[in-house]
Amino acid sequence: MKLEHLELNNFASYHDKHMISLEVKEGKPLIIVVGQTGYGKTSLFDAINWVLYSEDYERDLSKSRSRTILDFINETAIKELANIPQTGKMSVTLRFTHRLVTYIKSVSIVFTVKKNKDGTIQAIEKNRISSFKRRNENGDMISIQHEKLFLDEILPNNVKSYFLFDGDRIYNLANPGNSQEVKDAIYRVVDLEILKNAEDHLAELAREYARKAKKESSGELNEKQETYNQELENQQELKDSVELIKKELKSIKDKIEKIENRLADLPASEKLQAKKQRLIDHISSKEEEELRIKQSLRSKFAVASYKLILPEIKSLHKKIDDKRKKGDIPKHVSETLINDILEMGKCLCGVKFNKDSDMCKNLLKRLEEDRGKSEKEHGILRILYDLQAVQENIDETTKELSEKEDVLNHLNDEIHQLRLDKQEIENELDKLPQENITVLRKNLKDLNNERDRLNREDGESKILLKQVETNLKELDKEIKALNKQQKTSAVLQERSMVSRKASGILEELYASFAEESRKEVEALTIDEFKKFVYSSSSYSVQLSKDYELQVLDSNGNRALQRMSMGQSQCLSLAFITAISRVSQKRPPLVIDMPFSRLDHKTHAAISERLPKLSEQTILFLIPEVEWYEGTKIILTSKAAHIYELDFNEKKRQTTIEQIK
């Protein structure tokens, strides 16, 4: 199947008619549509799905996105009809080829517009038209009667999600514990379900014929038929039970694996949590120290601020000191000394004098003259000392401030670094589970016990099944012998036996078909995965008998959970390519945002491989994030067409520009 041409009319943000060629050429299997989020990429994806699967897709929309197809009618188209009693139309037409035949599938909704009391307007579906035609040898378009039957042969609805998918789906397939998803993909895509259903329907038919045979029989044959029917019922019950146990076991195994993976990550998580706590404590103590220093600095700032007038203080100190040295500032004689001399009545040189002498009078006069000078000189000296002390204080405080500033800067650097370390740990922790290890271990223990119980039950059921089969064979012989007299019952019994035999053979066929498909898918997945990334060479891929997509490292240890997101995505793509090849359906791959969760290095690796995955791959990419120089260089040369979407915010409409 190859998509060739898509035409939209009033679909989502595409107002009126828009056409887009999807034709690919040899060596150019890619179609690239680039557009920002909300510009209408996914609407193209929706349009392809809707036109192909109509009602089935509408059911999916309602289930997964709670939307109806009427939500896709273009806003402007609805507004245009608000005051006109006319009908509008939303439609999608897809032209594609399959095995050299051209097909055109179209679906449209005719609508009117209703004004609500609250002023809102809404579209009301009036009519729905769909058509599916193929071009015959003469070039005429002929209607296809059984649309579903036909499409099912090309790309069945139940497998389309493995070919028309988004980045998240790719990522999920290769996650640990998703074996059911992987099994479903193989089961549906390689048609295993057809064999399984055929086996079940024939077994049911065998029971139905056996019941009828019993009704038609009498005597001993009737009794044997009763036993036979009972054994058939037992056989079916045991088969159902084994099937159920198998499913339960698979689900439990998946759960166990998920928990084991989480537990494997938890020690790392715990370690990081402890490290984070240590960092938080460290940051907190550093912040307290910072606060203490800042508080102590506050009291010093006032003193340090006098540094601004330090030159004036110094100049004043110098002026006073100079004056004192010059003798401009009066010096006084010590009052105590003069008083002592007057008291003794004797000079220092030993000359005696009395109170009436001139010497005594002179001394008293001098004492009187110098009184007060002493205080003045002391005052000036105190100012000089104070000025000296102020200078020293300012110098010391300034020095202290400078030292503390250095300490603060250092502390700031330390706190910044610690916060970065903490952020780094938080980023790592975001990737790891934050769970209660005790609860997880208890759950794991319970699940292991349940698995053991189911395994025992499975073994017992299988032994019983063998016994029932032996009983049925014995009864077959006995009934055959008794049937010779009762013709009608004999015919019915034969039909039952043939149906049972065919069902049994289908059971064996199913097992070998499933196993062969698994091996084929495994071999192709291994091959594809190796081609995807060079770093994958250290890993070996396995698809276990339980359909578990597993990756082992060079030591044989499970490594799926250790793989990067890019490697996981490559593994999923390798798996999807493998099932597509095994199924021989050769569908196009339509991938919405394949790189959005990956780093640029992985983009390059996947980009190299994407053109080789399918004969046609349609990619919806986000500019800059997914569509940038790196991917442009690789993908452009392999693209048949490249389109850029533009969105007019005012009109809320998308336009398509073809850039290649």
Binding site: H146, L149, F150, D152, E153, P156, H201, S499, I505
Partner: protein
């Protein structure tokens, strides 16, 4: 639907079915699988069990 397309899409199953040694059972299984393929593509409401009865009846009569 053209027979050719149906055969192509179920090539792998046909290949497996052809390995059934018992001619009668092989023929029954081939016909039953055709019914299953048609049913898979239908609305999946009522399985056409009568078609399976007809297949079994037809093959047993053919042997008689």
């Amino acid at each position: 639907m053209p027979k050719q397309q149906k055969q192509n899409s179920t090539d792998r199953i046909q290949e497996f079915v052809s390995k059934i040694k018992d001619n009668q059972i092989r023929s029954i299984v081939e016909d039953v699988i055709d019914v299953e393929i048609s049913y898979r593509s239908s609305s999946r409401k009522n399985f056409p069990t009568q078609k399976l009865r007809d297949i079994i009846d037809g093959h047993i009569k053919a042997v008689d």
